[in-house]
């Protein structure tokens, strides 16, 4: 199987309503590790992830995977900041991507059951997904993203609504997923989580990449004052 990575991003830009909200961004994503995207609210983290995943149209520059983009897209998955739940049971939500891509319903449901267990939703399998709590919906979205074993997994604040215990469970799953070879790109406002998971950090500020560096280097001594202030917990404007 050809690898989807490395990814090359060159001068990529996203404009909305005449305003550049992300970019120009230059970025290289190599084939191992977990990249954490950090930055204050409105910095453009969500837009950057959407852009990489092909959800936000480029208004300049280029994004090149190691294979044609349509093919690359089928090997990626995305967990959205606001979880999208289908009006179906939890199990059918998780099975949905498999069924879309031709897996038999019985097998898809079996695998969905396995994934529901792994994210701690075993009890809720047959419940309508719309009645889940916010945190449970995020777990569902994670299971649904992982079920096709993507080579690149984007997560937009996947633990934002979770309590400490669920956050640790999710982090464990993400670590295992990364160890099994899935490239993870995620945003978080939780600096502790970034330290626990990141092998690489991208610090985004006003739509521009201020730092893209190894995690240990970033946390040891961020090069830009904005990033330094951000890590200290100061307010960056």
């Amino acid at each position: 199987m050809t690898a989807i990575l490395p990814l090359q991003v060159r001068a990529a830009k996203v404009r909305r309503r005449g305003k550049t909200i992300v970019g120009p961004v230059d970025l290289d994503l190599t084939d191992v590790g977990t990249t954490i995207v950090m930055g204050p609210n409105g910095a453009g983290k969500t837009t950057l992830l959407h852009m990489l995943h092909g959800l936000a149209r480029l208004s300049g520059g280029a994004i090149a995977w190691n294979m044609p983009t349509p093919e690359a897209q089928t090997r990626q998955a995305f967990v959205f900041q606001a979880p999208v739940v289908l009006r179906r049971s939890v199990r059918d939500n998780i099975a949905y991507p498999l069924i879309l891509h031709g897996t038999l319903k019985s097998e898809a449901r079996q695998r969905a059951t396995d994934w529901a267990e792994r994210v701690g939703l075993a009890e809720a399998l047959k419940r309508p997904a719309t009645v889940l709590s916010g945190g449970e919906k995020q777990k569902l979205a994670l299971a649904r993203a992982l079920i096709r074993e993507p080579q690149v997994l984007f997560l937009d604040e996947p633990t934002a609504n979770l309590d400490g215990r669920s956050t640790r469970e999710i982090e464990t799953i993400l670590k295992r997923t990364a160890a099994e070879g899935t490239r993870i790109v995620m945003t978080t406002h939780n600096i502790g989580q970034a330290r626990r998971l990141a092998s690489e950090v991208i610090f985004l500020y006003r739509g521009r990449v201020h730092e893209a560096t190894r995690a240990d280097a970033f946390f040891a001594g961020p090069k830009t004052p904005e990033a330094a202030a951000f890590i200290k917990g100061d307010i960056v404007e």
Partner: protein, 234 residues
């Protein structure tokens, strides 16, 4: 008031005795309208879904047109269908005029815009929620439409019911294209019109109550179906 009372007793008598004519007329009403609504749904639901997900140049115009078509006067629909199906019309050779099929055609034309319009509203809202996910999962256009139609099934059921309500009580168009021929194309509404014109108010009212009862029964049935559905919280 006496007439209403007589109507009620007439209706009661007709129903408990399983009056042969009443049963025949009622079944024909149901057959015509249920067929028409089924066909209309088969057209309107995909159309509504397609209009919700597809961007094209004259989309707004098409939607405006659809909304305008909801207000089509049934009598005019009847007249046009008549002109197409009558012996001298372009489809005269099919011998459809004054048959239940002609009535079905007219009802399909009357309710399709209504169902499509309600369906489009509901599906467009759902699409706003699902958009990013379905794009991310590389769902094909067909799969997107199927997913939206299935997940909006509650609202779509209501759309179908609205269509049923409009079709079952419609008289102008079916009278023109069906001709209200006894044992061929007579249905509840045309029978009511006929009995009223003959001065048989009690019988007309009796038929009217059956018609109302039918509309309520179908509503309750579908409501019940939605209720008993296991995943019934949406």
């Amino acid at each position: 008031m006496g007439e209403i009372w007589q109507g009620l007793t007439a209706a009661f008598r007709l129903i408990v005795t399983f009056d042969a004519d009443l049963v025949e007329i009622t079944l024909r009403s149901l057959q015509v309208t249920l067929t028409a609504v089924a066909i209309a749904c088969a057209i309107a639901l995909p159309l509504g879904a397609w209009l919700a997900i597809q961007r094209f140049r004259y989309r707004r115009t098409v939607i405006a047109l659809l909304n305008a078509l909801m207000g089509l006067p049934p009598v005019v629909v009847g007249l046009i269908v008549y002109l197409f199906l009558s012996r001298q019309g372009p489809f005269g050779a099919l011998n459809l005029i004054f048959t239940p099929t002609a009535m079905i055609i007219a009802q399909v034309i009357i309710v399709t815009p209504l169902i499509a319009s309600i369906a489009h509203q509901a599906i467009r809202e759902l699409w706003a929620d699902y958009h990013d996910l379905l794009i991310s999962l590389n769902a094909t256009k067909r799969q997107r439409m199927a997913t939206l139609i299935w997940d909006a099934r509650r609202a779509l059921m209501t759309a179908a019911l609205a269509g049923f309500g409009r079709a079952i009580g419609e008289v102008g168009a079916v009278m023109i294209v069906g001709g209200n021929i006894d044992h061929v194309s007579r249905i509840l509404t045309t029978a009511i019109a006929l009995e009223t014109s003959k001065g048989n108010f009690a019988l007309a009212l009796g038929l009217g109550f059956v018609l109302i009862g039918l509309a309520i029964a179908v509503n309750l049935m579908i409501h019940g179906l939605g209720r008993t559905e296991r995943e019934g919280t949406w």
